[in-house]
């Protein structure tokens, strides 16, 4: 890695291993503008906004594509550069649907931000493009090609992070567009609904399918009892939109806000995550006894399940038959609220607030429809809830805190870490390990099951058997792992897969954030675990009592699902 000193706008700036000049400039405290540069992805060099001028030669070059050299002297804001940047912006705006006021991305749009920053008030060129058709076909995301500026961030995240390659450029010159192969609708492709394209989109060209209107209609319908469950990852990210630090757990404020908004009952997905841990651990121990099939894959992430279904269906038998916590919650609610509905002749309307766009797809799956209605009526992402709270004008910091309702508001520390990569595996391990001491918990914590690496491997001793576990985040790495398992290079008993970087805290329904924010959110969940009253799923008194009451047959029928097979 190169080391040395650069001169940026006359100031000496040391560099040590930064991969490009752009990173050094940003380190020096200058927010150089970019569209196509996304630090988590490969360098593309298309937007030319990050150009800098060499003080000696007067040459201009894109700083994202330049390696820092010792003694290099550049300026970042010369008259020439400012003129170029304004021209680039003007041309981009000329071929962009500038309907900002009613765009879902307004306020979070990079194009809008930079056009404002550079004072582009007038566009001299008419938009000569034809009107492109919008794509409403996906449950998770919505594509409006009229707003695309061709930065290619979505193309690269889909290929490099998720290994899917659903979107790519097509055509050339003025006809260039980003689209799926053969200009198909997303629903006709192998899109897994992870939504990461929407998370990195610099404009409003790809946004999350907005179902806020449906939510309000249900909340305002007196015939409906609106019951909400909130996923673990939501509580440590939603605050970012209201001035709280990433990772700060504001669940109690969210519960309070939802009540003011008119929601009848607010519960915690953690409750169902405890059921998942117990059920999944049981299944795992059974597989250990039966000798397979291994690896057992976790089933909580709907994008991952969809990926196998579409690309590698032979592994569907390896997926745990446990429903995801969201769907387990729905099964419990259906069972428990049938009587309640009959008694007061209202219908229970179940909303799940998730960090995830793929959950919208999961809720729409045939397996989770009974008698023509979905088990979860509506899935809202964290950001949709942010918009709803903003709409009401509620100030979160002035609210009285309120904890989730009982009985389904109670969850263990093992449940809250479901929202971070490695959490599901850790919870299952806690349940399976015969040693129930504090020390055992500590050993698991530092075993390497936690962390940022895309693939982590850990080994535990469960009653004399050596158990090999892998934890994966990012679908591209799951592909890699499967290839190795298939080639006999690796063997695991249990593999946890989360499609998004960092696990659910990095879900596409969360506030926009880079790796650093995702890491803080993960820490927030671990902190919640550390201060939880009990840290093992089986210690949840409501869950254990309820499962005993339901009995094994009910659990078998209602907590399991068989993807891609008929049973």
């Amino acid at each position: 890695m190169a080391k040395g000193i650069m001169i940026i706008d006359g100031v000496r700036v040391p560099f040590d291993g930064e991969k490009n000049v752009l990173a050094v400039v940003r380190k020096a405290g200058i927010d150089i503008p970019t569209f196509c540069y996304y630090s988590d992805l490969s360098v593309y060099g298309a937007c030319r906004m990050c150009m800098v001028e060499d003080t000696k030669t007067g040459k201009i070059e894109a700083s994202c594509s330049m390696e820092p050299r010792d003694g290099m002297s550049i300026r970042t804001n010369t008259a020439k550069l400012l003129k170029h940047r304004r021209m680039i912006l003007e041309l981009l705006l000329a071929s962009h649907d500038c309907s900002c006021t009613n765009c879902a991305k307004s306020g979070n749009c990079r194009l809008q931000e930079l056009a404002q920053r550079f004072g582009v008030r007038h566009v001299r060129f008419p938009d000569t493009r034809p009107r492109y058709e919008m794509d409403y076909s996906s449950h998770a995301i919505f594509r409006d090609p009229n707003k695309c500026i061709l930065c290619g961030d979505c193309v690269r995240v889909c290929e490099e992070k998720q290994g899917q390659g659903i979107l790519d450029f097509a055509g050339r010159g003025s006809e260039l567009q980003v689209m799926p192969a053969f200009d198909k609708k997303l629903s006709e492709t192998k899109c897994v609904s992870c939504g990461q394209c929407a998370a990195v989109c610099t404009t409003g060209a790809i946004t999350v399918n907005d179902q806020i209107g449906t939510a309000w209609r249900a909340i305002h319908d007196p015939q409906k009892r609106v019951v909400v469950q909130i996923a673990p990852a939501v509580r440590v990210a939603i605050g970012e939109e209201f001035g709280y630090a990433p990772g700060e757990n504001i669940l109690d404020r969210i519960v309070s806000a939802l009540k003011i908004m008119g929601v009848d009952e607010v519960y915690d997905t953690n409750f169902a995550a405890d059921i998942t841990t117990i059920t999944e651990a049981e299944e795992f121990l059974q597989r250990l006894q039966a000798g397979g099939p291994f690896p057992m894959f976790t089933s909580c992430c709907p994008a991952w399940v969809k990926y196998l279904e579409l690309n590698d269906p032979k592994y569907l038998k390896n997926i745990s038959t446990c429903k995801s916590p969201m769907e387990m919650f729905a099964s419990v609610l259906k069972e428990k609220y049938a009587e309640k509905d009959a008694a007061d002749s209202r219908t229970t309307y179940h909303i799940a607030i998730m960090p995830c766009t793929a959950k919208k797809m999961e809720a729409a799956r045939d397996e989770f429809f009974h008698n023509g209605t979905p088990d979860v009526d509506l899935v809202l992402t964290t950001r949709e809830l942010v918009d709803m709270i903003r709409e009401t004008g509620i100030h979160l910091d002035e609210l009285e805190l309120e904890s989730p309702d009982l009985p389904f508001g109670l969850g263990s520390g093992a449940a809250v870490i479901y929202g971070v990569t490695g959490g599901v595996a850790e919870s299952v391990v806690r349940h399976c390990l015969p040693d129930k001491t504090k020390n055992a918990l500590r050993q698991v914590r530092v075993s390497g099951i936690r962390g940022d690496e895309p693939i982590r491997e850990v080994t535990y001793d469960v009653g004399g058997t050596e158990i090999k576990i892998a934890v994966v985040n990012g679908l591209v790495h799951a592909k890699e792992l499967i290839a190795d398992v298939e080639a006999g290079k690796r063997f695991y008993h249990l593999v946890e897969v989360m499609s998004c970087q960092g696990g659910c805290v990095g879900g596409a329904g969360q506030p926009y954030g880079l790796t650093a924010a995702k890491r803080e959110r993960g820490k927030g969940l671990y902190a919640a675990d550390a201060s939880a009253l009990f840290k093992r799923a089986e210690k949840n008194p409501v869950v254990t009592a309820m499962l005993a009451d339901f009995g094994p047959q009910w659990c078998h029928d209602h907590l399991h699902v068989h993807y891609g097979t008929e049973e």
Binding site: E159, Q164, G165, I166, L167, D168, F169, A170, G171, R172, M179, P180, A181, F182
Partner: protein, 162 residues
């Protein structure tokens, strides 16, 4: 030729290039010369065999003017639009043929599948301009009328009424 036979042929072409992603363009070219266009099934198979995304193959196929994603007609007309031909009024010839074939939008092949209309940058026959080729045969000093007369003759030979 059935779809399976066609895909078997595409597979042979892929093998001939060692199933290397770096050979994508060569594979697309050979596939196109075998069937005169690239079908969605061809491209899907190529993507699968090379281990790249279908969107990527589509991206390359749509980038180059030379690749056709629709079946071409039996006879291929190329109107030269090089500088010399252009100056000597090749555009009205192109327009006349375009109308004759009832083409709309981006379509280059007529409804009967008889003709495909393309342009070519220069044939090096500037002394004979404006020129066009039909199935590789050069026709010199064309006018809109003489061009349409050629097409009429072919239609008659094919047993199709004007």
């Amino acid at each position: 030729m059935s779809m399976n036979q066609r895909l078997a042929r595409v597979s042979e072409i892929i093998d001939a290039h060692g199933a290397q992603p770096s050979q994508l363009i060569a594979i697309l070219q050979d596939t196109q010369s075998a069937f005169n266009y690239l079908s969605q099934e061809d491209m899907t198979l190529i993507a699968q065999r090379l281990g790249i995304s279908t969107a990527k193959v589509y991206s390359v196929a749509t980038f180059y003017e030379n690749f056709s994603l629709e079946p071409k007609g039996k006879h291929i007309i190329r109107v030269c639009d090089g500088t010399a031909c252009h100056v000597r009024k090749s555009q009205p010839i192109y327009d006349a043929i375009h109308d004759y074939m009832h083409l709309t939008g981006k379509r280059k092949t007529d409804a009967d599948g008889l003709f495909t209309l393309e342009t070519v940058a220069c044939l090096g026959a500037c002394g004979l301009s404006p020129v066009l080729t039909i199935d590789g045969e050069v026709h010199a000093k064309m006018t809109p009328d003489s061009a349409l007369a050629l097409l009429d003759t072919i239609r008659k030979e094919e047993g199709l009424a004007k």
